[in-house]
């Protein structure tokens, strides 16, 4: 009897150890994982690759990426961490705030900063350049409009749990030394811009309408309201009227996206996910309305701006430059790296009627960012110092 017990126990242990590989060999259906996973190829061994251990590293990466039952393990572990400990796994960029509000670590780091991040001289130089570009383009009846986009920690400040917050007092350094300094510099140079943070605070709309479950991004409705302001600034700068309207509309949300698990904890069971999202509808534009071309330059917030701009049918050619080095064409999956000052760059980046420069709060750090690069590149082409 004792021997049978021992045999059974050993068999169970061996079965547990071998189960993932056996499941993979038997092609047992795994729990689907949401996320952007890069396929890992099985490396070919060679004397040199074994000696320098690159084969071992490659094999380990391949083995872990293709392990059977991985989906079940990941979902089970995430679910336990979330419900038993109210945590996300260590190393995850998503953090849990109060009432299940999700934040991304970069925004929390920004919220918790206690030092001035940039050289005031660099900010001054940037504001001077932006003002000069705006003036130069306005003289050609075109617009260059900076758009300050708030971080989620600004909009959901009260949902930042105490354990994710440093006690820096109010107002926080991120407000005083970054946001307000940027505004002061732009105002001092008479730059016409859109303050998305002020805009959203003044809307008095339900917060969930402006922001979704995503740990970082605003809703398409918020993007629409920002574009409404962009249209107003365009008129202010060029005299050309561009009527832009937004009506909030709640529609079934996208359950999965290759990139979403980083921001929505989709690989965790029994977490309130986004089943409804707020987007915007637009009236039909008059047939004779001008259709200026538009280019959005900046962070992933530009995606919702681009979507809404295309959805509105108010614009002619619409493009997005993701961090000014990747061009998004008509089809969104048609993305190409692009080098400044090349013929292709000039064809795509110049002669645009409205440039919207995304100044995302978390990344407001003049010095060596896409904002500096793009303004320098465009400034050079326009003959602006």
């Amino acid at each position: 009897m004792a021997r049978l017990y021992d045999k059974l126990a050993v068999c169970l242990f061996v079965a547990l150890a071998a189960a993932p590989v056996a499941a993979r060999l038997a092609r047992v259906r795994d729990h689907a994982l949401n996320g952007a996973f890069t396929p890992v190829a099985l490396p070919t061994p060679s004397a040199a690759s074994v000696r320098d251990e690159s084969f071992q590293q490659g094999f380990k990466a391949w083995f872990e990426a293709t392990l059977g039952l991985r989906g079940y393990a990941v979902v089970a572990d995430n679910t336990l961490l979330y419900h038993a400990f109210h945590d996300t796994k260590s190393g995850s960029p998503v953090r849990l705030g109060r009432d299940g509000v999700l934040f991304i670590d970069e925004d929390l780091n920004y919220f918790n900063r206690d030092t001035l991040l940039f050289d005031p001289a660099k900010l001054e130089a940037l504001a001077t350049r932006i003002a000069a570009i705006q003036r130069a383009l306005a003289a050609r009846h075109r617009a260059f409009i900076p758009l300050i986009i708030p971080s989620k920690t600004t909009v959901y400040r009260d949902a930042v749990a105490a354990r994710w917050s440093r006690d820096l007092g109010e107002p926080r350094v991120s407000d005083l030394r970054l946001y307000l300094e940027m505004k002061r510099a732009l105002d001092a140079h008479h730059v016409v811009y859109v303050d998305g943070r002020e805009l959203l605070a003044g809307l008095h709309a339900p917060r969930d309408e402006l922001w979704g479950k995503s740990a970082r991004h605003w809703s398409e409705y918020s993007a629409c309201r920002a574009l409404e302001q962009v249209a107003a600034r365009y008129r202010e700068l060029t005299g050309v009227a561009l009527d832009y309207d937004c009506t909030a509309l709640t529609v079934p949300g996208i359950a999965s996206h290759e990139d979403y698990d980083l921001l929505r904890l989709l690989n965790t069971l029994w977490v309130p996910h986004e089943h409804l999202v707020t987007t915007a509808t637009h009236s039909t534009p008059p047939p004779d309305a001008p259709k200026p071309s538009v280019m959005f330059v900046g962070t992933s917030f530009c995606w919702s701006l681009l979507h809404d701009a295309r959805h509105s049918r108010r614009f002619g050619r619409s493009r997005m430059a993701y961090y000014d080095r990747t061009l998004i064409h008509d089809r969104e999956d048609d993305q190409t790296p692009i080098e400044p000052h090349t013929a292709e760059w000039r064809a795509e980046f110049l002669d645009i009627d409205i440039y919207v420069l995304d100044l995302f709060e978390t990344y407001l750090a003049p010095g060596d960012s896409y904002v500096d690069h793009f303004t320098a590149e465009l400034g050079t082409e326009l003959g602006v110092p």
Binding site: V10, A17, E64, A73, H86, D87, S90
Partner: protein, 463 residues
Amino acid sequence: MPFSSLLFIHLFLPAFLVAYYASPRAAKNYVAIGASLVFYAWGAPRFLPVVVALGVIDFVISHQLARTRRKLLLAAGVTMHLSVLVYFKYSNFFVGELDALLAHGGISPLTWTPVVLPIGVSFITFEEISYLTDVYRGDARPARKLSHYLLFLTLFPHSIAGPIFRWKDLEAQLAERVHSWQLAREGFERFAVGLAKKVLVADSVALIADGVFGMPADQLTPGLAWAGACAYALQIYFDFSGYSDMAIGLGKMIGFRFKENFDRPYISASITEFWTRWHISLSTWLRDYLYIPLGGNRRGRRRALLNLMIVFTLSGLWHGAAWTFVLWGAFHGAFVMCERLLGKRRDAVPRAIQHIATLVIVVIGWVFFRAGTAGHAFDVLAAMFGRVGDAIGPPTADYAPHFAQFAFVAGAVIVLAPIATKYRAWRPRLPLAVVTAAGLLAFAGSAIHLTNMRITPLIYFKF
């Protein structure tokens, strides 16, 4: 390939066990050698030929030693192994220190390509030295078969992070050992306990330790510094004892019975006792092959105290080529000396105070062990003893998520609770079914967690 890796648990281990048990009795050692060589080559392919060559040389020398008992031959063998250890482990350190001295004199630094430390070199070297010494002393017979000696050196459950084996303890088992389902079941249960200690506790409290030791000195407060030091005390215990549990469990799966390497060290009432419970294979090795040859207690009290200090300082240096490890060793050595001087007068101190004092000393010692530099260690110690930084630290959840806090409390309870039974005959015994079920749960839970988490390398791998 750490034991706490998906590759080991889900591929290497089941594949090895199937091959091992499917092979006839006479071939089992060869299967074990083959698997051990693959295992070692996976992590240190360039050092494998050195290990095998040293094993062959040892085999030849040991037979000569058994015949001639020539001290010179023993000295040559020991010097060879120490040279290997010094070259691979300490040359970067010595060159770095020399460069610092040269820089003081305005001389340009030496041209030097840093040497990569092969895994397990410190453990293997000590095993080789003890083998030659035991054969020379007549305490052990030389290996009859080269395959037995190579298996002794490279046997994968212990080859990269101990425990440090003695040839005389394993010789008989290498030639003949009993395989049983009961032993294999116990092995799996032990392995599961070790895996859970490493994956669920050590890697979780490591977040707290890493967070606190990664903070600038001006952000540290006494509470934070103590939390970080205690978290590291838990991390290193669950990490290394977990590894030893896994090694012992793996041994049982293939019929070996290895000696224990840990015996609930944090229930010690003195530093001397601590060293009879912590990394037992190292402390007994140092006693038998360093302390006693230095004269031990035989040359008077002063010399015995000096010998203790030498042994502990070298023990620190064995752990790592850095002044922090030397300080850690000397720190422990100083307290062991004090305890030796106090003798029985220590018994007058209430037992609770002895336990608390021992824990505090051990935790303080770990600060030297964990800190990147001596200066960093003293910054953390200053914070532990009252210095409050004037800067605001990071948010708590950044370094102490709830699951890490839970692991901290659970770990503390696990290591300290046995104090309650230390002075009584009563020992709790769990029903076998509960032990097996807990083992299965720990194994599955750890493997699941491992699939989802970043793996922290075993601390003792770098030694």
